[in-house]
């Protein structure tokens, strides 16, 4: 069966179904992370003392650079499709995937460093927040990587059959990816610097 407006835009809303869907999803994500950031604010303002300098700022900064770069390569992957440059598109999408992977490797080193020192989430409220927020953010990164792997692998076939739909999918993945990036841009100063 054909569902209307899966690829083309509905004139009165100016949106295709998937575009509206991804925006709605992101709205719910804003509420999710909004609640978690509120938790952070409430616990921090209520705390008598708050640890400083427990996290490695250089590693955090490096990860920030990695994610911002991956947002740029993600935009390029989409732009290359608009230019019908398939080869370049693959390259940029692969770069995005790789940058996300390096981010996770860094995160792994940070985590294992803490755990090795016996500083798990139960150690202090600060670390509880740190592990929960970055852990959830990390899961979002993994989710994005799964989607990218699909679009690099079996999902890439769609480009031949329906290039517009494929381009849309890359665009929606991009929107999601920018959101994940944005969350990190909040997380980095909140956890590493303040």
């Amino acid at each position: 069966m054909n569902i209307p407006y899966t690829v083309e835009e509905r004139p009165d809303s100016g949106l295709a179904n998937g575009k509206l869907g991804i925006w709605l999803f992101l709205a719910s994500e804003v509420m999710l992370f909004g609640a978690l950031f509120s938790t952070y604010i409430i616990l921090r303002t209520g705390a008598t003392e708050w640890p400083h300098g427990e996290l490695s700022v250089p590693l955090g900064a490096l990860n920030t650079v990695l994610l911002i770069s991956s947002s740029v390569t993600m935009v390029m992957a989409w732009a290359m499709l608009k230019l019908h440059n398939w080869g370049r598109h693959r390259l940029y999408l692969l770069a995005t995937f790789a940058l996300a992977g390096i981010f996770l490797v860094n995160k792994y080193f940070e985590y294992s460093d803490h755990l090795a020192r016996g500083e798990g989430p139960s150690h202090s409220t600060f670390l509880a927040i740190y592990f929960t927020l970055t852990g959830l953010h990390g899961l979002h990164i993994v989710g994005g990587m799964v989607v990218m792997a699909y679009l690099l692998g079996p999902g890439a076939k769609l480009w031949k059959q329906n290039p517009d739909q494929f381009t849309n999918r890359i665009e929606y993945t991009g929107l999601y990816w920018h959101f994940v990036d944005l969350v990190w841009i909040f997380l980095f100063p909140v956890l590493y610097l303040l």
Binding site: L20, G21, A35, P121, S122
Partner: protein, 592 residues
Amino acid sequence: MEQPTTPPSVVYEHAHHIDAHEELGWWRKYVFSTDHKVIGIQYAITGLLFLLFGFGLMMLMRWQLAYPGKPIPLIGPWLGQSRAPMGIMLPEFYNQLGAMHGTIMVFLGVVPLAVGGFGNFVMPLQIGAPDMAFPKINMMSYWVYYIGGVIMLASFFPTTGAAQSGWTSYTPLSVITATSGQTFWLVGMIFLITSSLLGSINFITTIVQLRAKGLSYMRLPFFVWAQFVTSFLLLLAFPPLEAAGILQLMDKVAGTSFFLPSGLVISGKPLAVAGQGNPLLWQHLFWFLAHPEVYVLILPAMGIVSEIIANNTRKPLWGYKALVYSVVFLGFMSFIVWAHHMFMTGMGTTMSAFFQTTTMIISIPSVVILTALLLSLWGASIRFTTPMLFALAFLPMFGIGGLTGLPLGLAPSDIHLHDTYYVIGHFHYVVAPGTIFALFAGIYHWFPKATGRKMNELLGKLHFWGSLVCINLVFMPMFIQGLAGMNRRMYDGGAQYAHNQGVLHWNVVQGYAAWGLGLFQIFFIINFFMSLKWGKAVDKNPWEATTLEWLAPSPPGHGNFLTEPIVYRAPYEYSVPGAAKDFSPQFEPEKA
């Protein structure tokens, strides 16, 4: 069958090749289906079964409340040592029953039936869509709900039993109770929330994107508006509870103390956690969801009742626009009233004043909606069909529930009433004779669309009158008990307190009324199955209704409509002066 009313030039191309080409196997057709109607029915049946199960848990509780410490007849011996040694209920088991009755009724029964069931089945038909915008995600949201349900049920099996800190799972109690039940509860909730999120994204997208030609927003049936607003509530209010659930899960399994304050001492031993947590934070996050959630429970019910009232009064709804604006306003307001559940936490007078004010304001749109529906009855020659009886009863029942809520929304009176049976009476009037009656009304009303057969009227009326009498006998005495100061969540029904002695006998009355209520549901169950096979066969539009679902065949095939539906008019054009019939469907051109 009637000829399609739209010109044959707009014949749907899809509809034809569907029948010709798509031969789905049994599994894809009935189990892993992506058809919104099949998914709607799956949701509805699963939801009904959970309602029955939650009702069963409640029957056990009512026995214990009426006859504290007496062995439970029949099933008592089967409950086992850890729940009811020699058939006598343990306090821990009563707590599990209470927590799981609330959780199951709300999250596994009513919402799946009202939103997943009715929303899925009816809404795409009413807007003239061939299916939901994302059929595969629709299937996924059902199965994620299903897994959540299985996890909740499984939590009864470990000998330490299910969650026992109330459906509200307040911290620190829920975290320090050292059983696995709460962990099951949290994981189950995360599945249920995920399912609702997927569903709400689908609903909103479908309503915005897939409305038929000519179906502007102000021509949408009120039911669709109700589902639209409900979906926004689910979309935006559930994530904070998901966040809270994740944090509580961390407290349970990773030893964090988000909700555990410093210096907590349990059974004389200091609790070995980092501390510095904030137990009230849980309440804020919980009620930030759970107040909008009560509108999730009630708005679809109002939508169903509106459809049925318009259809059976043979008149347009009174004040359609007022209804729409009210429901939208209600949706917005429901996000800023949550802390009226927390007057007793000592959150301060400024906070209390703010939340009292918003609570009084939010009652205005509810009153507008109820008044508009009441005025719709004015001067009508009403068809007293079974669905209409249930819909009519909804109005005073919801009215009682709503009015008794006002004293709870004002801190001075809430201090007296908080945590008593008055509260239990109040919200059950909203959700049981309110929402559940509306859901029954909806089942009787749309059964012919789903199956091509009508349900039996005589059995329907027996079901209605019996339920109406019994359910009031269960819940009306709760106000008396609550005003006398009887606390809720007491495993002996409050028998240990002197001040309750004068109102204890009501527990026995409520017990009998509850068994009676159970017996009258048998009429419904018989009716349901009998009508599937022997019900009176009907055509497309047995109720002579005006909205689009009645243009599709009964039951509609995959893809729904045989011709592309086009909308020419407002949703409830009944008894239009000068028209040949007393109903002018949305799909009939002006001079039909």
